[in-house]
């Protein structure tokens, strides 16, 4: 469980990135942190694995204050997948890349082998086992990066802007993968400004703006609240926009995905006027 208690964070340059953040993420939750670039989303999640320590306030991971633990120690529990895979790939083979963190965490060779194989299979990378990560396509490199984090089986997985530069198929695969991780009991926290992706995933949404949390709640509530979204300069998903515009006809407006939209319209049209 992650608890953030009244956290403020100011960068050494004097930029106030977080103000009065209070937040709790339960085990097994699926959370999306949304907001514009510069809203403080990434700064906030960097507190979860200790990359940043609060200027004021505390962050607790399973009851332990992050000030008292090293980044390596916290990372065992909280895996952080960075936005750009190219900022972490450096090994000669995909296999080595995945084993890197496991070596750092002191797993024995036998376990490392087992975990690497498991992660390769999980992300469908077996055929690239001996390939250099630099030879792979952008989408494949992203998967290697993801595998290299999942390999040590952290309880919490943070994904920073996972959909940037991804096409529709890749996004859909990613979505299914994330949902699967979450159903297996992992806590998933993703930082994103991709509203359609969030609408498809339907997680708990935390909305940030100018270093503050402006709202939180289930996706159906937050993503359909135009005033709240406007505070974070986000437009509602396309389906929501349609249904908000049809409110005067007596249609429900808290709709975020196509399937639900279709069902409502079918009912409405089938019903006697």
């Amino acid at each position: 469980m992650i608890e953030v208690k009244d956290v403020h964070f100011t960068y050494p340059t004097g930029v106030k990135a977080l103000r009065e953040i209070c937040l709790a993420v339960q085990d097994g939750e699926f959370v999306a942190i949304m907001g514009q670039n510069g809203a403080g989303k990434t700064t906030l999640v960097k507190h979860f694995n200790g990359l940043l320590k609060p200027t004021e306030g505390e962050v607790f991971i399973d009851g332990v204050n992050t000030r008292n633990l090293s980044i390596a120690n916290l990372s065992r529990k909280v895996g952080f997948v960075f936005q750009n895979a190219d900022y972490q790939l450096f090994c000669e083979t995909v296999e080595e890349e995945i084993a890197f963190a496991l070596r750092n965490f002191g797993f024995d060779e036998k376990t490392i082998k087992k975990r690497v194989t498991w992660a390769l299979n999980l992300l469908d990378l077996m055929q690239y086992r001996k390939t250099s990560p630099f030879m792979l396509s952008g989408g494949e490199r992203k998967r290697v990066a993801l595998a290299s984090i999942l390999a040590w089986d952290p309880e919490v997985i943070i994904l920073d802007e996972p959909t940037i530069g991804q096409d529709y198929h890749q996004k859909e695969r990613l979505r299914q993968f994330i949902v699967q991780l979450n159903t297996q009991g992992k806590t998933v926290i993703m930082v994103t400004h991709d509203i359609e992706f969030v609408a498809d995933c339907s997680p708990r949404v935390i909305l940030m703006s100018q270093g503050k949390i402006v709202a939180e709640g289930v996706a159906e509530e937050i993503l359909t609240n135009v005033n709240l979204l406007a505070q974070a300069s986000i437009l509602p998903p396309q389906i929501t926009q349609i249904f908000l515009n049809l409110k005067d006809l007596g249609l429900p407006s808290k709709v975020i995905n196509v399937h639900e939209g279709k069902k409502i319209l079918l009912n409405f049209l089938g019903a006697p006027a």
Partner: protein, 262 residues
């Protein structure tokens, strides 16, 4: 990353910032020549103090003090080595001139640092490159220079992100003995280098797409022209140089202790 912070030129508007970089360079050279001409403490002190108004006019005192602090260790070393070597050389006698001489040598160094830091603190890399261009340095070199300056902050930020990414994978930079610690930096250096290569390719592509090398006669949005203040500085530099030459030839420079009651 404070090293990189120091390299960042801050845009301040002041009469000194507006001076032509070439003129400022002439001034720096003058200060350099004069400082080397004298061993005595008094002229070097004068040279030190007449530069202070420039720093104040340019409003870069805080940055200047920082750069002087950076030079202070080296200044101390210069002082001590001069003192000790003179002491050994002149027959193991401690004397006032001995101390004065060493102080003089130290101040020579300080004056050099002072004038160079005025130059760099008040000259934007843009202007510097323009000055180089107008002094007929090949454009490719000037371009390489500004691009390098342009990407310093980008690179610093990238290095920080890479470090974060690897630490999130359990890399502990300050663990192990010296060799291990150096090795710890490999996972940071490789992505940094690979990304820099990728970046340079993208940059080359963007340059080509914007008509790089289209014409032999490249023009420039800006042009440097000497103005009133620039002539003032040239005059000031010439005057300083003449006085220094005159003083060197015809005046016996007294010891500073002639003026101090000891």
């Amino acid at each position: 990353m404070s090293v990189f912070e120091g390299l960042r030129f801050r845009r301040v508007s002041s009469p000194i910032h507006k001076l032509d970089p070439r003129v400022k360079f002439v001034y720096v050279c003058t200060a350099f020549v004069v400082a080397v001409m004298f061993n005595e403490l008094i002229p070097l002190l004068i040279l030190f103090f007449i530069q202070i108004p420039f720093i104040l006019t340019a409003r870069v005192q805080r940055e200047w003090i920082r750069s002087m602090k950076g030079a202070s260790l080296l200044a101390l070393i210069i002082f001590v080595t001069n003192l000790v070597s003179r002491y050994l050389y002149t027959g193991h006698v401690w004397s006032v001139p001995l101390v004065e001489y060493s102080l003089g040598m130290t101040f020579r160094f300080i004056v050099l640092v002072e004038s160079f830091s005025i130059f760099f603190l008040t000259t934007s890399p843009d202007h510097l490159s323009l000055a180089l261009e107008q002094s007929h340095v090949p454009y490719e070199l000037c371009f390489a220079f500004t691009t390098a300056v342009r990407f310093v902050p980008v690179l610093a930020e990238e290095a920080q992100t890479i470090m974060d990414a690897q630490r999130a994978r359990g890399l502990e930079l300050d663990r192990g003995n010296f060799i291990k610690r150096v090795k710890n930096y490999i996972p940071i250096l490789i992505p940094l280098i690979v990304n820099s290569i990728r970046r340079s390719l993208q940059l080359a592509e963007a340059m080509e797409s914007r008509a790089w090398g289209a014409s032999k006669k490249r023009t420039n949005l800006y042009i440097l022209k000497l103005r009133g203040g620039d002539f003032g500085i040239i005059l000031f530099s010439l005057l300083t140089l003449s006085i220094a030459i005159y003083a060197k030839r015809y005046i016996l420079i007294p010891s500073i202790f002639a003026f101090l009651p000891i």
